[in-house]
Amino acid sequence: MSIDLSQFHQVFFEESFEGLDVMESGLLELDPAAPDDEEINSIFRAAHSIKGGSATFGFSDVADFTHVLETLLDEVRAGTRSIGPDEVELFLQSVDCLRELLKGLQAKEDVDISRAEDLRQQFEKILGMAPSDGASLDDAESISNGAWRITFRPEGHILRTGNEPLRMFWQLAEMGTLTVTTDSSSLAAFATMNVESCYYAWELQLEGRNIQKEAIEEIFEWVCDDAELLIEPLVAEVAEADENENENESTEAIEAIEDNLQDMESADAEIIPADTKAIEPADAAPKNDAGEKAAKPTVSKAAETGSIRVDIDKIDTMINMVGELVITQSMLGQIGSDFSDDKLGKLQEGLTDLERNVQVLHESVMRVRMLPISFTLSRFPRMVRDLSRQLEKKIELVVKGENTELDKTVMEKIGDPLVHLLRNSLDHGIEKPADRVKAGKPETGIINLHAFHQGGNIIIQITDDGQGLPREKILAKARENGIVGEDEALSDEQVQDLIFQPGFSTAEKVSDVSGRGVGMDVVRRNIHALGGAVSVKSEEGVGTTFTISLPLTLAILDGQLVRVGKEVYIFPLVSIVESLSVDVSQVSSVAGACDVLRLREEYIPIIPLYEAFGIEPDSKELKNSLIVVVESDNVKVGLVVDELQAQQQVVIKSLETNYQSVEGISGATILGDGTVSLILDIAGVVKMAEGLSSELDEKAA
């Protein structure tokens, strides 16, 4: 009877990463001067679970390393050792190191343990331990011996704590030849027997080379508080093993455990290591707390398995709705099978129900994909801490609205732009402490990270109270690069918007943090690709605010239905600036090729959509048509269409699944009547139009 452990690997990794996050956030919140016991406990528990898990799954590199970490933590917890900033730093480094190790294992790559080895030596130095390769006297003795007798007499409730003697014996058996004698003398009478209790005791004999006592103790580490355990060297004869009985007993044990999954839940929290002295078994509260705080780090590409944890409430709503849907369906079925005109009212009623059910179901399914934004934001406190150290600045990060929900796909893609913006604020925004004092500001700079919902969008604001954007410097740089003409007068907003231009950095020197080319233009492009927008507002000497607005989901889009000839296209509502019927006197022709509309103070090129897409319109006369002014990447164009129809939310379907990407089209959707309608990619259409006009130019020339 053997269980394939690899099926649990994924869960182990996920839990370990969560544990590491708990450790990290705990360490960051830890005040070395007055360490909070609860905080240290949660760090310790996380480390301990990782150690236990990795040992179970045979990831000995991780287990060994965590063991040292845990020992030190235990001393801190017991109050025998104080923890200073250096230790915190070391712990943080080891969290990173463990994360690397685990990622490597998850991706089934060879892991580099040299870093772990370095850190481990540092820990051992702190602990005053001799490095493990210099074997101690005790070790030497045990190696020479190589045979052990283990008396293991667990207390009755051992199975309920989720511990499985059989598994321990397997582990022992891996070290050498194991013979097991089962002592069933304390077996209760059948009538009084409790299936969840363990009545056996075992005597084990382990023979092999290089078996250390510590190794055996480690296997029993989880249970030795709940059992009588005696490990002694052996030179005596080998007893007959009663494997069979053991086998039966274990099967029973497993059944008992399966019957009591709930028990196990709580048991999990009760598992405490052997050397615990000061701490009561952890109650469930801090554990849950930690679980909620836990956030998933960015997982490397190779390991992206795409599973999400969904709140049970969300699933329950869905199941309820499906139930109602089934009822409605059977009702409609009944009406349909025996239909007469007088049932029309009922039919309509049923259809209304159906519509409502489907709508709610749709919403709840979409909500499954929604995760709190803290999944992305949680890595920022660490980043700010490390960077402010590196930059020798004092910076405090205040995060608000971390429970704001956001589509998973959007969340994965927003991480990098956010990191970039934050780094920008850290590096360029906040001044050095001395400069801040000179400017009459508190020494510590504050960066606010605020996420909230507004309409169908999520807004993320990054505000710093730093030096703001230097208008003159930006303008000078822009003139130097030829982005802005010498005499052009620009408003503050226009100047500030210049930082989103490609290749624009005012950093005087390239640092490790920013000013290195991957600029704000990339940030803007990435956010545009998600259908969002980013803007900046700044006041010199007071601070800068970046505002990102993103659609809540990528699967649904607010669209404007627009007809050209026989075809109906969908314009994303976000990119429409305005729609107007044309006053022909405001249209002039530039170089006889491209028409330009004068709209207030702007000149907007006009693109007839029928020309760009090669379709037959109702009318080619401008005065009979409408112009929809759209904006993409700060370029406005007017698209000539025949009719504006309804506005509606549309579900985006990919054209590429079965066909290929089409220029000017970002996807397709299915309209109410079942026909397919194409969704315009405004940026693409603008590009096409540019090509079109240059083509026309060539023809004219």
């Binding site: 379907k653 089409v662 397709a668 026909t675 397919v676």
Partner: protein
């Protein structure tokens, strides 16, 4: 061809059980008979209007909604350089599931009419004639004769990988000429 004519063929299949056979769906275009692997046919449906794709090549008639999936419709006549005909209520679309270079895809092809199904021994399928380097015939799986009539078996995956359909039209013409010669 009548059902009676097919009968001997079927018997032959049964007697030669164990020989590997493939089943094909045959259809007619411009009086020529073509076949595709029947396992790739997902459904046969009546032509209904498709949403045209801007700037698409002329053989791509547009996209349709197939139970929530967007499926492109390709006019095979135009691929093969045949004269276009008006689509009527009898025009048929075969929705096929094909493996292309870019993976697994669904595509609809417009044909004149569906004709029959046929079981063919591997040995009955003759390779496509070599047309020289200039003409790519990889979209032709082979040629077979059913009831003294040549059937061109198509490899739809390779067909969709084709970039240049004018070259295909050329190939098509030469095959048909060749076929005429052999039948005469």
């Amino acid at each position: 061809m009548s059902a009676v004519d097919i009968e001997p063929n079927v018997d032959e299949e049964i007697t030669s059980a164990g020989v590997e056979t493939d089943q094909y769906l045959t259809f007619i275009m411009d009086n020529e008979e073509y076949g595709v692997d029947i396992l790739s046919v997902k459904e046969i449906r009546i032509w209904d209007s498709a949403t045209p794709i801007p700037k698409a090549p002329s053989h791509v008639r547009g996209v349709i909604n197939l139970r929530g999936t967007i499926v492109p419709i390709i006019d095979l006549r135009q691929c093969f350089g045949m004269s276009a005909i008006d689509y009527g209520p009898l025009t048929v679309v075969l929705v096929l599931q094909v493996e292309t270079e870019k993976g697994h895809r669904e595509v609809g092809i417009v044909v004149d009419a569906v004709s029959d199904t046929a079981d063919l021994d591997r040995s009955q399928v003759k390779p496509a004639p070599d047309m020289g380097d200039k003409i790519n015939t990889s979209y032709i799986k082979g040629l077979a004769t059913i009831d003294k009539k040549m059937v061109i078996l198509l490899n739809m995956g390779n067909l969709l990988n084709q970039e240049d359909f004018s070259a295909m039209a050329e190939a098509q013409k030469s095959i048909l000429e060749l076929a005429d010669e052999t039948t005469e």
